[in-house]
Amino acid sequence: MTGASRILVVEDSPCQLLQIQMLLESAGYDVATAEDGQGAIEAIRTSTFDLVVTDLEMPRLDGLGLVRAIFAQDLDLPVILTTASGSELIAAETLHAGAASYVPKDNISSILVPTVARILELKQAAQPDPRLAICVHSVQVEWKLDNDLKLVPNLIRRIESILSELGIYDPSARLQVAMALDEALTNAMVHGNLEVSSELRRIEEGRPYSQQIQERQSLAPYRDRRVTFCFQANRSTATFTIGDEGPGFQVNEVSDPTDSANLEREGGRGLLLINTFMDQVIHNECGNKIVMIKHCKKG
Protein backbone atom coordinates (compact mmCIF):
# COMPACT_ATOMS: atom_id res chain seq x y z
CA MET A 1 0.00 0.00 0.00
CA THR A 2 2.12 2.80 -1.24
CA GLY A 3 -0.32 4.85 -3.31
CA ALA A 4 -1.45 7.24 -0.58
CA SER A 5 2.00 8.09 0.82
CA ARG A 6 3.28 11.56 -0.02
CA ILE A 7 7.02 12.03 -0.26
CA LEU A 8 9.03 15.24 -0.44
CA VAL A 9 12.27 14.89 -2.39
CA VAL A 10 14.91 17.55 -1.68
CA GLU A 11 17.79 17.71 -4.15
CA ASP A 12 19.66 20.61 -5.78
CA SER A 13 20.81 18.61 -8.82
CA PRO A 14 17.93 18.60 -11.38
CA CYS A 15 19.25 15.37 -12.90
CA GLN A 16 19.34 13.46 -9.59
CA LEU A 17 16.03 14.99 -8.56
CA LEU A 18 14.41 13.60 -11.70
CA GLN A 19 15.98 10.18 -11.15
CA ILE A 20 14.66 9.94 -7.55
CA GLN A 21 11.27 11.32 -8.53
CA MET A 22 10.90 8.71 -11.30
CA LEU A 23 11.99 5.87 -9.00
CA LEU A 24 9.45 6.81 -6.34
CA GLU A 25 6.61 7.61 -8.73
CA SER A 26 7.04 4.31 -10.53
CA ALA A 27 6.73 2.61 -7.11
CA GLY A 28 3.36 4.34 -6.68
CA TYR A 29 4.28 7.24 -4.37
CA ASP A 30 2.98 10.77 -4.72
CA VAL A 31 6.10 12.96 -5.03
CA ALA A 32 6.65 16.68 -4.43
CA THR A 33 10.05 18.35 -4.79
CA ALA A 34 12.18 21.13 -3.29
CA GLU A 35 15.59 22.32 -4.44
CA ASP A 36 17.19 22.79 -1.00
CA GLY A 37 16.52 22.56 2.73
CA GLN A 38 15.02 26.04 2.94
CA GLY A 39 12.58 25.21 0.13
CA ALA A 40 11.75 21.96 1.95
CA ILE A 41 10.92 23.79 5.19
CA GLU A 42 8.59 26.09 3.28
CA ALA A 43 6.93 23.07 1.58
CA ILE A 44 6.51 21.30 4.96
CA ARG A 45 4.86 24.42 6.40
CA THR A 46 2.21 24.50 3.70
CA SER A 47 1.67 20.78 2.88
CA THR A 48 1.57 17.44 4.61
CA PHE A 49 4.10 14.73 3.82
CA ASP A 50 4.65 11.19 5.06
CA LEU A 51 8.41 11.13 4.49
CA VAL A 52 11.30 13.25 3.22
CA VAL A 53 14.16 12.07 1.01
CA THR A 54 16.96 14.63 1.03
CA ASP A 55 20.40 15.21 -0.36
CA LEU A 56 23.12 16.12 2.14
CA GLU A 57 24.98 18.95 0.43
CA MET A 58 22.76 21.78 -0.76
CA PRO A 59 22.87 25.59 -0.84
CA ARG A 60 21.06 27.75 1.77
CA LEU A 61 20.16 24.88 4.13
CA ASP A 62 21.82 21.45 3.86
CA GLY A 63 20.46 18.01 4.74
CA LEU A 64 21.81 18.09 8.30
CA GLY A 65 20.19 21.50 8.89
CA LEU A 66 16.92 20.21 7.47
CA VAL A 67 16.95 17.14 9.76
CA ARG A 68 17.64 19.37 12.76
CA ALA A 69 14.83 21.76 11.79
CA ILE A 70 12.33 18.90 11.40
CA PHE A 71 13.44 17.33 14.70
CA ALA A 72 13.27 20.68 16.51
CA GLN A 73 9.68 21.16 15.32
CA ASP A 74 8.76 17.75 16.79
CA LEU A 75 7.25 16.70 13.45
CA ASP A 76 6.39 13.08 12.92
CA LEU A 77 8.22 13.11 9.61
CA PRO A 78 10.97 10.55 8.94
CA VAL A 79 13.90 11.68 6.80
CA ILE A 80 16.03 9.50 4.53
CA LEU A 81 19.35 10.92 3.33
CA THR A 82 20.97 10.26 0.02
CA THR A 83 24.73 10.46 0.40
CA ALA A 84 27.66 10.54 -1.99
CA SER A 85 30.65 8.35 -1.15
CA GLY A 86 33.04 10.03 1.28
CA SER A 87 30.29 11.69 3.33
CA GLU A 88 29.73 8.80 5.77
CA LEU A 89 30.83 10.85 8.79
CA ILE A 90 28.37 13.64 8.15
CA ALA A 91 25.71 11.00 7.39
CA ALA A 92 26.38 9.49 10.83
CA GLU A 93 25.99 12.94 12.39
CA THR A 94 22.70 13.36 10.56
CA LEU A 95 21.45 10.00 11.85
CA HIS A 96 22.41 11.16 15.33
CA ALA A 97 20.42 14.36 14.74
CA GLY A 98 17.29 12.30 14.02
CA ALA A 99 17.37 11.05 10.40
CA ALA A 100 15.70 7.65 9.96
CA SER A 101 18.14 6.13 7.46
CA TYR A 102 20.50 6.87 4.60
CA VAL A 103 20.98 5.52 1.11
CA PRO A 104 24.32 5.77 -0.75
CA LYS A 105 23.81 7.48 -4.11
CA ASP A 106 25.73 4.67 -5.87
CA ASN A 107 22.97 2.20 -4.94
CA ILE A 108 20.02 4.52 -5.11
CA SER A 109 18.14 2.67 -7.86
CA SER A 110 18.15 -0.62 -5.94
CA ILE A 111 17.98 0.52 -2.29
CA LEU A 112 15.86 3.68 -2.16
CA VAL A 113 12.38 2.23 -2.78
CA PRO A 114 12.72 -0.69 -0.28
CA THR A 115 14.14 1.74 2.32
CA VAL A 116 11.23 4.14 1.84
CA ALA A 117 8.74 1.25 2.13
CA ARG A 118 10.38 -0.04 5.33
CA ILE A 119 10.47 3.39 7.03
CA LEU A 120 6.83 4.07 6.11
CA GLU A 121 5.83 0.67 7.51
CA LEU A 122 7.65 1.44 10.77
CA LYS A 123 5.96 4.84 10.97
CA GLN A 124 2.53 3.30 10.44
CA ALA A 125 3.18 0.60 13.06
CA ALA A 126 4.10 3.27 15.64
CA GLN A 127 0.83 5.13 15.19
CA PRO A 128 -1.97 4.33 17.65
CA ASP A 129 -5.20 2.91 16.32
CA PRO A 130 -7.83 5.67 16.90
CA ARG A 131 -10.54 3.02 17.46
CA LEU A 132 -8.54 1.65 20.39
CA ALA A 133 -7.73 5.12 21.73
CA ILE A 134 -11.41 5.94 22.36
CA CYS A 135 -11.75 2.73 24.40
CA VAL A 136 -9.00 3.61 26.89
CA HIS A 137 -10.63 4.03 30.29
CA SER A 138 -7.64 4.51 32.58
CA VAL A 139 -3.91 3.95 32.67
CA GLN A 140 -1.35 3.41 35.39
CA VAL A 141 2.36 3.12 34.70
CA GLU A 142 5.33 3.18 37.06
CA TRP A 143 8.94 3.80 36.14
CA LYS A 144 12.09 3.34 38.24
CA LEU A 145 14.58 5.74 36.73
CA ASP A 146 18.28 6.18 37.27
CA ASN A 147 19.59 9.74 37.35
CA ASP A 148 20.08 10.13 33.62
CA LEU A 149 18.64 13.50 32.59
CA LYS A 150 18.51 12.36 28.98
CA LEU A 151 15.60 10.09 29.95
CA VAL A 152 13.43 13.06 30.94
CA PRO A 153 12.43 14.42 27.48
CA ASN A 154 11.57 10.95 26.16
CA LEU A 155 9.56 10.14 29.27
CA ILE A 156 7.64 13.41 28.98
CA ARG A 157 6.99 12.71 25.29
CA ARG A 158 5.60 9.31 26.30
CA ILE A 159 3.29 10.90 28.89
CA GLU A 160 2.17 13.53 26.37
CA SER A 161 1.32 10.80 23.92
CA ILE A 162 -0.74 8.86 26.50
CA LEU A 163 -2.55 12.07 27.54
CA SER A 164 -3.23 12.83 23.92
CA GLU A 165 -4.68 9.34 23.43
CA LEU A 166 -6.89 9.81 26.52
CA GLY A 167 -7.97 13.17 25.11
CA ILE A 168 -8.37 14.85 28.48
CA TYR A 169 -6.40 18.04 27.86
CA ASP A 170 -6.05 20.49 25.01
CA PRO A 171 -2.52 20.95 23.56
CA SER A 172 -1.86 23.99 25.75
CA ALA A 173 -2.70 22.08 28.96
CA ARG A 174 -0.50 19.18 27.79
CA LEU A 175 2.40 21.64 27.44
CA GLN A 176 1.76 22.91 30.95
CA VAL A 177 1.91 19.32 32.21
CA ALA A 178 5.16 18.82 30.26
CA MET A 179 6.71 21.91 31.86
CA ALA A 180 5.68 20.87 35.38
CA LEU A 181 6.89 17.28 34.88
CA ASP A 182 10.22 18.50 33.56
CA GLU A 183 10.72 20.59 36.69
CA ALA A 184 9.68 17.78 39.05
CA LEU A 185 11.72 15.03 37.38
CA THR A 186 14.83 17.19 37.05
CA ASN A 187 14.40 18.28 40.64
CA ALA A 188 14.14 14.66 41.85
CA MET A 189 17.25 13.56 39.93
CA VAL A 190 19.54 16.56 40.34
CA HIS A 191 18.58 18.12 43.68
CA GLY A 192 16.99 15.05 45.30
CA ASN A 193 19.14 12.05 44.41
CA LEU A 194 22.39 13.75 43.37
CA GLU A 195 22.08 16.56 45.96
CA VAL A 196 23.44 19.17 43.55
CA SER A 197 22.49 22.74 44.44
CA SER A 198 20.81 24.91 41.82
CA GLU A 199 22.92 27.87 43.02
CA LEU A 200 25.91 26.26 41.23
CA ARG A 201 24.21 27.25 37.96
CA ARG A 202 25.14 30.86 38.70
CA ILE A 203 28.86 30.09 38.78
CA GLU A 204 31.03 30.07 35.62
CA GLU A 205 28.12 29.70 33.18
CA GLY A 206 26.92 26.67 35.16
CA ARG A 207 30.00 24.53 34.47
CA PRO A 208 30.48 23.42 38.14
CA TYR A 209 26.77 22.47 38.16
CA SER A 210 27.13 20.22 35.10
CA GLN A 211 30.42 18.84 36.43
CA GLN A 212 28.98 17.87 39.81
CA ILE A 213 25.97 16.20 38.15
CA GLN A 214 28.30 14.18 35.97
CA GLU A 215 30.59 13.19 38.88
CA ARG A 216 27.77 12.13 41.18
CA GLN A 217 26.04 10.08 38.49
CA SER A 218 28.82 7.54 38.99
CA LEU A 219 29.58 8.11 42.68
CA ALA A 220 28.05 6.21 45.64
CA PRO A 221 25.64 6.77 47.33
CA TYR A 222 24.15 9.16 44.73
CA ARG A 223 24.42 6.82 41.73
CA ASP A 224 22.46 4.04 43.48
CA ARG A 225 19.43 6.20 44.18
CA ARG A 226 16.42 5.93 41.89
CA VAL A 227 13.50 8.15 40.98
CA THR A 228 10.11 6.47 41.13
CA PHE A 229 7.58 7.98 38.79
CA CYS A 230 4.00 6.79 38.99
CA PHE A 231 1.49 8.06 36.45
CA GLN A 232 -2.22 7.42 36.82
CA ALA A 233 -4.87 8.89 34.56
CA ASN A 234 -8.47 8.47 33.58
CA ARG A 235 -10.67 10.61 31.37
CA SER A 236 -11.09 13.31 34.02
CA THR A 237 -7.86 13.52 36.04
CA ALA A 238 -4.17 12.73 35.83
CA THR A 239 -2.01 12.18 38.91
CA PHE A 240 1.77 12.24 38.77
CA THR A 241 3.75 10.99 41.78
CA ILE A 242 7.50 11.51 41.75
CA GLY A 243 9.71 10.31 44.59
CA ASP A 244 13.48 10.34 45.01
CA GLU A 245 15.77 8.57 47.51
CA GLY A 246 17.65 11.66 48.65
CA PRO A 247 17.39 13.31 52.07
CA GLY A 248 14.53 15.58 50.95
CA PHE A 249 14.00 19.26 51.70
CA GLN A 250 11.69 21.49 53.72
CA VAL A 251 9.28 23.00 51.25
CA ASN A 252 8.46 25.93 53.55
CA GLU A 253 12.15 26.82 53.82
CA VAL A 254 12.55 27.43 50.09
CA SER A 255 13.04 31.15 49.60
CA ASP A 256 10.25 32.94 47.76
CA PRO A 257 11.58 33.44 44.21
CA THR A 258 9.07 36.25 43.60
CA ASP A 259 10.47 38.35 46.45
CA SER A 260 12.29 41.24 44.77
CA ALA A 261 15.45 40.35 46.70
CA ASN A 262 15.43 36.82 45.21
CA LEU A 263 14.47 37.52 41.59
CA GLU A 264 17.95 36.72 40.31
CA ARG A 265 18.44 33.65 42.51
CA GLU A 266 18.16 30.19 40.99
CA GLY A 267 16.18 28.30 43.63
CA GLY A 268 12.43 28.05 43.96
CA ARG A 269 11.41 28.95 40.41
CA GLY A 270 10.80 25.31 39.42
CA LEU A 271 8.44 24.73 42.36
CA LEU A 272 6.58 27.88 41.47
CA LEU A 273 6.06 26.68 37.91
CA ILE A 274 4.84 23.28 39.17
CA ASN A 275 2.31 25.00 41.45
CA THR A 276 1.18 27.21 38.58
CA PHE A 277 0.69 24.51 35.99
CA MET A 278 -0.86 21.80 38.19
CA ASP A 279 -4.21 22.04 40.00
CA GLN A 280 -3.03 20.45 43.23
CA VAL A 281 0.48 19.81 44.56
CA ILE A 282 1.24 17.80 47.70
CA HIS A 283 4.69 17.19 49.23
CA ASN A 284 5.40 14.46 51.76
CA GLU A 285 6.74 15.42 55.17
CA CYS A 286 10.35 14.67 54.39
CA GLY A 287 10.25 16.51 51.04
CA ASN A 288 11.38 13.74 48.73
CA LYS A 289 8.03 12.94 47.17
CA ILE A 290 5.65 15.16 45.25
CA VAL A 291 2.13 14.39 44.07
CA MET A 292 0.78 16.57 41.27
CA ILE A 293 -2.81 16.47 40.10
CA LYS A 294 -4.29 18.03 36.99
CA HIS A 295 -7.99 17.87 36.21
CA CYS A 296 -9.64 17.85 32.83
CA LYS A 297 -10.85 21.33 31.92
CA LYS A 298 -12.75 20.28 28.82
CA GLY A 299 -16.42 21.22 28.70
Binding site: D74, L149, V152, L175, S210, E266
Partner: protein, 148 residues
Protein backbone atom coordinates in the same frame (compact mmCIF):
# COMPACT_ATOMS: atom_id res chain seq x y z
CA UNK B 1 36.02 15.97 31.81
CA UNK B 2 36.11 19.56 30.61
CA UNK B 3 33.08 21.48 29.42
CA UNK B 4 31.83 20.61 25.98
CA UNK B 5 32.49 23.38 23.56
CA UNK B 6 30.05 23.68 20.76
CA UNK B 7 31.55 24.46 17.41
CA UNK B 8 29.48 27.40 16.25
CA UNK B 9 29.68 27.97 12.57
CA UNK B 10 29.51 31.69 12.05
CA UNK B 11 28.96 31.69 8.34
CA UNK B 12 27.37 35.09 8.01
CA UNK B 13 25.26 35.67 4.95
CA UNK B 14 24.04 39.21 4.47
CA UNK B 15 21.08 39.99 2.29
CA UNK B 16 19.06 43.19 1.93
CA UNK B 17 15.30 43.23 2.14
CA UNK B 18 13.41 46.54 1.91
CA UNK B 19 16.36 48.48 3.23
CA UNK B 20 16.98 46.17 6.22
CA UNK B 21 20.08 44.03 6.30
CA UNK B 22 19.38 40.49 7.36
CA UNK B 23 22.32 38.50 8.67
CA UNK B 24 21.71 34.81 9.19
CA UNK B 25 24.24 32.75 11.07
CA UNK B 26 24.19 29.02 11.15
CA UNK B 27 23.63 27.88 14.71
CA UNK B 28 21.80 24.82 15.87
CA UNK B 29 19.40 26.33 18.39
CA UNK B 30 19.04 29.87 17.08
CA UNK B 31 18.84 32.01 13.99
CA UNK B 32 20.00 35.60 14.04
CA UNK B 33 19.00 38.59 11.97
CA UNK B 34 19.03 42.38 12.06
CA UNK B 35 15.77 44.26 12.04
CA UNK B 36 15.87 48.07 11.89
CA UNK B 37 19.48 47.89 13.07
CA UNK B 38 18.58 45.78 16.14
CA UNK B 39 19.85 42.19 16.48
CA UNK B 40 17.01 39.67 16.77
CA UNK B 41 17.68 36.11 17.93
CA UNK B 42 15.02 33.61 16.87
CA UNK B 43 14.92 30.47 19.02
CA UNK B 44 14.54 27.46 16.71
CA UNK B 45 13.67 24.72 19.22
CA UNK B 46 10.08 24.03 20.17
CA UNK B 47 10.85 22.93 23.73
CA UNK B 48 13.60 24.22 26.00
CA UNK B 49 13.11 21.53 28.63
CA UNK B 50 15.99 19.06 28.44
CA UNK B 51 19.47 19.93 29.64
CA UNK B 52 21.18 19.14 26.37
CA UNK B 53 19.04 21.63 24.42
CA UNK B 54 19.28 24.29 27.12
CA UNK B 55 23.05 23.91 27.48
CA UNK B 56 23.53 24.00 23.70
CA UNK B 57 21.34 27.08 23.36
CA UNK B 58 23.13 28.80 26.23
CA UNK B 59 26.55 28.16 24.71
CA UNK B 60 25.39 29.50 21.34
CA UNK B 61 23.73 32.57 22.87
CA UNK B 62 26.86 33.40 24.85
CA UNK B 63 29.06 32.88 21.79
CA UNK B 64 26.75 35.24 19.87
CA UNK B 65 26.85 37.83 22.66
CA UNK B 66 30.63 37.61 23.04
CA UNK B 67 31.31 37.88 19.33
CA UNK B 68 28.82 40.61 18.46
CA UNK B 69 28.61 42.52 21.78
CA UNK B 70 25.16 43.93 20.98
CA UNK B 71 23.94 47.03 22.82
CA UNK B 72 20.34 46.01 22.15
CA UNK B 73 18.93 42.52 21.70
CA UNK B 74 15.53 40.97 21.10
CA UNK B 75 14.88 37.26 21.62
CA UNK B 76 11.98 35.99 19.52
CA UNK B 77 10.01 33.09 21.09
CA UNK B 78 7.62 32.59 18.17
CA UNK B 79 8.20 28.83 17.77
CA UNK B 80 8.77 28.04 21.47
CA UNK B 81 6.01 25.98 23.06
CA UNK B 82 7.53 25.16 26.46
CA UNK B 83 10.44 26.20 28.68
CA UNK B 84 11.91 25.18 32.03
CA UNK B 85 13.16 27.22 34.98
CA UNK B 86 16.69 26.38 33.85
CA UNK B 87 16.08 28.14 30.56
CA UNK B 88 14.78 31.17 32.47
CA UNK B 89 18.19 31.23 34.20
CA UNK B 90 19.87 31.12 30.78
CA UNK B 91 17.90 34.19 29.69
CA UNK B 92 18.80 36.02 32.88
CA UNK B 93 22.45 35.26 32.13
CA UNK B 94 22.07 36.73 28.65
CA UNK B 95 20.43 39.79 30.15
CA UNK B 96 23.43 40.22 32.45
CA UNK B 97 25.77 40.14 29.42
CA UNK B 98 23.84 42.80 27.55
CA UNK B 99 23.22 44.94 30.65
CA UNK B 100 26.88 44.82 31.70
CA UNK B 101 27.71 46.51 28.39
CA UNK B 102 25.09 49.17 29.13
CA UNK B 103 22.64 47.60 26.67
CA UNK B 104 18.95 46.75 26.63
CA UNK B 105 17.47 43.27 26.37
CA UNK B 106 13.89 42.31 25.38
CA UNK B 107 11.87 39.15 24.81
CA UNK B 108 8.96 38.84 22.40
CA UNK B 109 6.28 36.65 20.76
CA UNK B 110 5.60 34.24 23.62
CA UNK B 111 2.71 31.81 23.77
CA UNK B 112 0.47 32.15 26.88
CA UNK B 113 2.00 29.16 28.76
CA UNK B 114 5.55 30.44 28.28
CA UNK B 115 4.53 33.99 29.18
CA UNK B 116 2.86 32.64 32.32
CA UNK B 117 6.18 31.13 33.44
CA UNK B 118 7.70 34.64 33.42
CA UNK B 119 4.62 36.19 35.02
CA UNK B 120 4.42 33.85 38.01
CA UNK B 121 8.13 34.17 38.67
CA UNK B 122 7.56 37.97 38.69
CA UNK B 123 10.25 38.47 36.06
CA UNK B 124 7.85 39.89 33.47
CA UNK B 125 8.13 43.66 33.76
CA UNK B 126 10.83 43.60 36.45
CA UNK B 127 14.13 42.09 35.24
CA UNK B 128 12.80 41.12 31.83
CA UNK B 129 10.78 43.18 29.38
CA UNK B 130 8.43 41.10 27.28
CA UNK B 131 6.56 42.36 24.22
CA UNK B 132 3.80 40.73 22.19
CA UNK B 133 5.63 41.22 18.88
CA UNK B 134 9.13 41.94 17.61
CA UNK B 135 7.83 45.21 16.13
CA UNK B 136 6.68 46.41 19.56
CA UNK B 137 10.03 45.42 21.08
CA UNK B 138 11.88 47.36 18.36
CA UNK B 139 9.67 50.40 18.97
CA UNK B 140 10.40 50.27 22.71
CA UNK B 141 14.14 49.90 22.20
CA UNK B 142 14.17 52.80 19.74
CA UNK B 143 12.32 55.00 22.22
CA UNK B 144 14.96 54.21 24.84
CA UNK B 145 17.68 55.07 22.35
CA UNK B 146 16.34 58.55 21.61
CA UNK B 147 18.26 61.40 23.23
CA UNK B 148 16.31 63.04 26.04
Amino acid sequence: MGPRKIQCELQAQTTHVQGHSIVSNIYRHLRTSMSDGIPVVFLTDVKFLDRETIQGAQEELITFLETTKPTTLIINFQDVAAISSEFISTLLRCREYVKSAGGEFCLSNMNPAVRMAFKVTKLDGTLLHIFDTVALAIEALKRLDQPR
